[in-house]
C-alpha cells in the first residue's frame, strides 16, 4: 500500500470506529510560523486503547500531545475529547480538562523545591481533595511505584529512573481516563525504562487510555500491545498494531 492508500484506509477505519471514540482529531493542522508541525491529522482513539506515537525527531509527536492538553492551540481542524470540542473550552474550564489527563514528560517536570510526596499530592490538592484523603492516596500510589521510602526526598536527590517513577505516580494519582506520555523513557537506562513502562501498562490494564510518544520503538515493541501511529513531517503516515 502506498502512502495515499494508507491514509485512505486509516480514515475509513476512523469513521467506522468513531462512535465510541474518547479522542477524535479531525484534520488537525498545527503551524509554527511557516513550519507545519502537524499536517491534516485525523485519528480516532477508543477508550482503553494503548496508542504508541512514533516517528523521527521533529515528526510532530510532542506537538500532537501538546494540542491534546491544550498547551498549544491548533491552527486548523477540530479535536473532541469525550465529545467535548477543545476549541470551545473556555480558559476557566481548561483546568478541569487537564485534570482528566495524567501527564509524563521526558524531563519529568517535578517541582525541585517540593518533596516527592508534595509533588504527587499537588494533583489532588488542585482538585480540592481533603488532606486526609490526599495522604492516603498518595502513599498508596507511591507504594505501588516503589517510591514510598523516598516520600520525603527532594526530586534532585533521586536518580532519573526514580524521578520518572515519581512522575508516573503523579500522573496516575488522580485516576485520570487518559495518560499522555511524551518520551517517558527518553532519558532513562533500559532497566528504568522497562520499570516505567511496566507501571504504565499496569495502569492501562485498569482501563485507562494511554498515548505514548517515543522514538524507542524496539523497547516498545517488546513490551506494549496496542496501536502504533507513525508520524512523519507532521503527517500521519501509517498505523499498525503492536502485538
Amino acid at each position: 500500500m502506498d502512502r495515499d492508500e494508507n491514509l485512505f484506509v486509516m480514515k475509513i477505519m476512523n469513521l467506522n470506529s468513531s462512535k465510541h471514540a474518547i479522542i477524535r482529531l479531525f484534520n488537525v493542522t498545527m503551524r509554527y510560523g511557516a513550519k507545519l508541525a502537524l499536517n491534516d491529522v485525523s485519528v480516532d482513539i477508543q477508550p482503553g486503547e494503548f496508542i504508541f506515537i512514533s516517528g523521527p525527531s521533529g515528526a510532530g509527536k510532542s506537538t500532537l500531545l501538546k494540542v491534546l492538553y491544550l498547551a498549544e492551540k491548533v491552527s486548523e481542524g477540530q479535536i473532541l475529547i469525550n465529545g467535548m470540542n477543545l476549541a470551545r473550552i473556555s480558559p476557566a474550564k481548561l483546568p478541569l480538562l487537564r485534570r482528566r489527563f495524567g501527564m509524563v514528560f521526558q524531563d519529568f517536570k517535578l517541582i525541585p523545591g517540593r518533596t516527592v510526596f508534595e509533588n504527587v499530592a499537588l494533583v489532588l490538592e488542585v482538585s480540592g481533595e481533603k488532606p486526609s484523603y490526599i495522604r492516603k492516596k498518595v502513599m498508596h500510589v507511591l507504594r505501588t511505584t516503589g517510591m514510598e521510602k523516598k516520600a520525603n526526598a527532594l526530586p534532585l536527590t533521586l536518580s532519573g529512573g526514580e524521578q520518572q517513577r515519581v512522575a508516573v505516580a503523579r500522573a496516575v494519582v488522580g485516576d485520570p481516563d487518559i495518560i499522555l506520555a511524551d518520551e517517558p523513557t527518553g532519558s532513562l537506562d533500559q532497566a528504568s525504562a522497562k520499570l516505567v513502562l511496566d507501571f504504565l501498562m499496569a495502569y492501562h490494564q485498569k482501563g485507562a487510555t494511554i498515548l505514548l510518544a517515543s522514538h524507542n520503538l524496539h523497547l516498545l515493541e517488546s513490551m506494549v500491545r496496542g496501536r502504533n501511529i507513525v508520524l512523519d513531517q507532521g503527517q500521519l503516515v501509517k498505523t499498525s498494531t503492536l502485538l
Binding site: Y69, A71, P91, A92, P95, L96, L97, R98, R99, M103, K109, L110, I111, P112, G113, R114, L122, V123, E125, V126, S127, P131, R170, G174
Partner: protein, 291 residues
C-alpha cells in the same frame, strides 16, 4: 484558606532574602509616611493651642455703654458660631492689666482716665478653619459699636500658609514613597513569579486554576504589607520615645508643646494601607505577567 496561608508562609521562607527586602522597603515607606503623619498630627495640635481654641477679643467703641450690652450680645449670638461670650468692662480690663504688669503699676497712677475700651471675649465654635474665622470676625466687626476684632490673625495666617504648603509637600512625599514601595512590591512578586515559573507551569499542567496559583502570591503580598507596616510603626515608636522627651524638655519652656504618638486610628489606617499596598503590588504584577 489554611492551605494557601501555609503555602504562602513556605514561599516566604524559601525566598527569605527577597521577602525581607520587600518588607524592609515597605516598612521604610510606612516609616516616612507615618513620620509626616506624626508631625502633622502634633503640629496641628500645637497650632490649635497657639490659636487658643478660637478665642477672639471684640473691642467696643468708646461710645458704648453697658446698657447696650444685652442688645449687642443678642446680635452677636444671632450670627451663630459663638460658643462662649464674656463681657469685660474697661475697669475690669484695667484691673487685669495692672495684675499682669505686677510691679510696674506706677505708670497707671499718671493716667487721668481709663484708656482701655469695653470688650467682649468670645470663643468660636469652629476654630480650625482660618478662612471661616476671618469671615466671622468680619461680620462682627461690621456690627454697630464694634471697634475691632482681634484673634491673632496676622502672624497665624502667615504661619498657617507655610504650614499648609509644608503639608502639601508632605502629602506629595508620602505619595512618592508609597509609589516606590508599590513598585518594589510588584517587582518582588514578579521576581518570585519568575523564580517559580517551572512550578507554575507544572501546576497548570496538572489542572490548577488561576485562583489556586495566584492566591498564595496574594497572601504573601498581604503578609509583606502587614509586616512592613508593623515594622515601620515599631521603628517610629522607638525613635519617638528616644527623641520626644528631649524635645519636650528643651522647648516646653519657650513654646506650648503637647507631643503625642500617633492615635490608634492613625496606626490602624497605616497598617491597613501597608497591607493594601502589599496586595495591590501583587495584583498589578500578576495582572501584567498573566496578561
Amino acid at each position: 484558606m489554611t492551605r494557601y496561608i501555609k503555602k504562602a508562609l513556605a514561599d516566604i521562607r524559601s525566598n527569605r532574602f527577597l521577602n525581607l527586602i520587600t518588607i524592609v522597603t515597605i516598612s521604610l515607606s510606612i516609616l516616612v509616611v507615618s513620620l509626616f503623619l506624626l508631625f502633622f498630627e502634633n503640629a496641628s495640635r500645637v497650632i490649635e493651642g497657639w490659636n487658643q481654641g478660637g478665642r477672639a477679643m471684640i473691642y467696643l467703641e468708646s461710645a458704648f455703654s453697658e446698657e447696650m450690652l444685652p442688645d449687642l450680645e443678642a446680635r452677636i449670638k444671632s450670627l451663630g458660631e459663638v460658643e462662649e461670650m464674656r463681657f469685660i468692662s474697661k475697669s475690669q480690663a484695667l484691673e487685669r492689666l495692672k495684675n499682669e504688669m505686677a510691679g510696674n503699676t506706677g505708670f497707671f497712677e499718671t493716667l487721668k482716665e481709663n484708656p482701655l475700651p469695653h470688650a467682649l471675649e468670645i470663643r468660636m465654635k469652629t476654630h480650625g478653619d482660618l478662612q471661616q474665622m476671618t469671615a466671622f470676625a468680619k461680620k462682627i466687626a461690621d456690627l454697630e459699636m464694634v471697634e475691632s476684632v482681634e484673634y491673632g490673625q496676622g502672624w497665624l495666617a502667615r504661619f498657617l500658609k507655610i504650614f499648609s504648603l509644608f503639608r502639601i509637600t508632605g502629602y506629595a512625599m508620602c505619595g512618592l514613597f508609597l509609589l516606590i514601595a508599590l513598585f518594589i512590591t510588584a517587582n518582588t512578586v514578579r521576581l518570585a513569579f519568575y523564580s517559580r515559573r517551572l512550578e507554575i507551569e507544572i501546576m497548570r499542567l496538572v489542572g490548577a486554576t488561576e485562583g489556586f496559583i495566584k492566591t498564595p502570591f496574594y497572601v504573601e503580598g498581604l503578609f509583606q504589607g502587614f509586616l512592613g507596616g508593623i515594622l515601620g510603626l515599631l521603628i517610629l515608636l522607638g525613635a519617638f520615645f528616644a527623641v520626644s522627651s528631649g524635645i519636650s524638655q528643651n522647648l516646653s519652656a519657650y513654646v506650648y508643646l503637647d507631643i503625642r504618638f500617633l492615635s490608634v486610628k492613625a496606626m490602624g489606617i497605616l497598617i491597613l494601607a501597608s497591607t493594601f499596598l502589599g496586595w495591590f503590588g501583587c495584583y498589578l504584577s500578576l495582572k501584567q505577567i498573566l496578561k
